[in-house]
Symmetry: C2
Subunit: 216 residues, 2 copies
């Protein structure tokens, strides 16, 4: 059976996975780039080609080992509407996601939204499909799209929380960054006792973050 | 100058330092003993004499190294009313704290409350004083009681948060336990940007907890 996985999901010490005030200029609101700095310092990120050639190559230690697990074995992603675009994107028929013409997903990618639109085929193997469905039904569709491979839940926090609460997630990798955001959207709300269904591991990295793994 | 320190302050992954439903039978509410299990497994705890002779001696690794810092150099503690007793203790003139006749503080101990009462001299060097005061004023009184030594802020979360927000804490050791309590009293609320005033370190322990150190 294909597994459902969350990777590289970054949260602050106080549990926020995004800040307040998300906009086209600030995908993470007042959090800015602070939640994802640890990942941008990895070789994984540099090899995604997001970094200018000539810049340093990125660390290859524990942060990178975790980061690289993002892609292998994944046949589809499910994400929430607020990851796909800033508030209001649903009123913009031209919006094609944050990631340019060649998004880093390279699989069918299912965007959960109450205002679905026709599918968008991008370069590099990513096709965005728009779905108004329960987590269970969305997962069934995504599993078909994944052709036997695993399905990644890509975020944001509202979507990850929904799949965790429904008991659908087999593997959660969250990365705790040593900042206090104070406001935004929390990952852990409403998940009392979640740890009872998983093996939980925490490992601190020399880069200053803590990798939390929930697996079953 | 004497320093202000917090030690062995246990929180869940979702940031709660105590559960919901605190009572005489349940000092941590629905959290039970889960927040303090890591500490009860240390040699430090066993040497406090809380454990029956003949029981195993406790681990002496990183959890213990942190736990033992509780006492040395401390000349006074400040705690909140809800740490001193269960809801309603202020209506019980006989209440002398949770800890029996020889509490583990062994210094003057200042209980912040809006309903102060006369001081209580206990065995072993602990005297409970009851204070209705701002954090700044309470600290000035406790520093005098500490005779040049450091002052520990003993909790609960409401009290620690108040001293953190006022910029009065020099050293915070929090221990993140891999459980999701879902409800209770949070430590981190209202402390956006706190990390900017400290060096922050996170270290995971083989026991499964993460020691967070904020120092300045
Ligand atoms: N920290 C990280 O690692 C990480 C990772 C990814 C994203 N992010 C950040 O997270 C933020 C977004 O997170 P979020 O929690 O606000 O939102 P989200 O999970 O991305 O999206 C939630 C929205 O998706 C739609 N939706 C969700 N479930 C649905 C369902 N079952 N059926 C139909 N529609 C559904 C709804 O939008 P509509 O009702 O409007 O259609 C809902 O408001 C962004 O700031 C993003 O940058 C962070
Ligand atoms: N996780 C840990 O390591 C840890 C450590 C210690 C305690 N705890 C737990 O934490 C819980 C208590 O925490 P809490 O946040 O609910 O309460 P708390 O911080 O212990 O006490 C708050 C109360 O103290 C009084 N108070 C605080 N500041 C004051 C001031 N400046 N002036 C006058 N009175 C003041 C007020 O009580 P009144 O208005 O009623 O007088 C206030 O409601 C307990 O369950 C305890 O077991 C956990």
């Amino acid at each position: 059976m294909s597994r459902v996985r969350v990777h590289n999901f970054s949260i602050s010490l106080d549990g926020f996975a995004t800040g307040e005030g998300q906009s086209a200029d600030a995908p993470f609101g007042h959090a800015g780039h602070r939640l994802v700095g640890w990942m941008k310092a990895t070789r994984f990120w540099h090899e995604l080609g997001v970094v200018e050639p000539g810049e340093e190559t990125g660390s290859a230690g524990v942060d990178n080992a975790f980061a690289e697990r993002f892609g292998p074995g994944i046949g589809a992603e499910i994400m929430g509407a607020n990851k796909f675009g800033p508030p209001g994107w649903q009123d913009d028929p031209q919006w094609r996601g944050w990631w340019g013409e060649n998004p880093p997903f390279h699989t069918p990618t299912y965007v959960l939204t109450h205002r679905p639109r026709p599918a968008l085929a991008m370069d590099g193997g990513t096709t965005f499909h728009f779905l108004d469905a329960t987590p269970q039904d969305a997962l069934a569709v995504a599993r078909e799209g994944a052709r036997g491979q695993d399905v990644r839940i890509g975020g944001g926090p509202g979507t990850v929380r929904q799949f965790l609460a429904a008991g659908l997630v087999d593997h959660l990798h969250a990365v705790q960054v040593p900042i206090l955001l104070g406001r935004g959207v929390r990952l852990w709300d409403g998940l009392e006792g979640l740890e009872q269904h998983y093996r939980v591991e925490a490992v601190s990295s020399p880069g200053g973050v803590v990798h939390l793994t929930f697996s079953r």
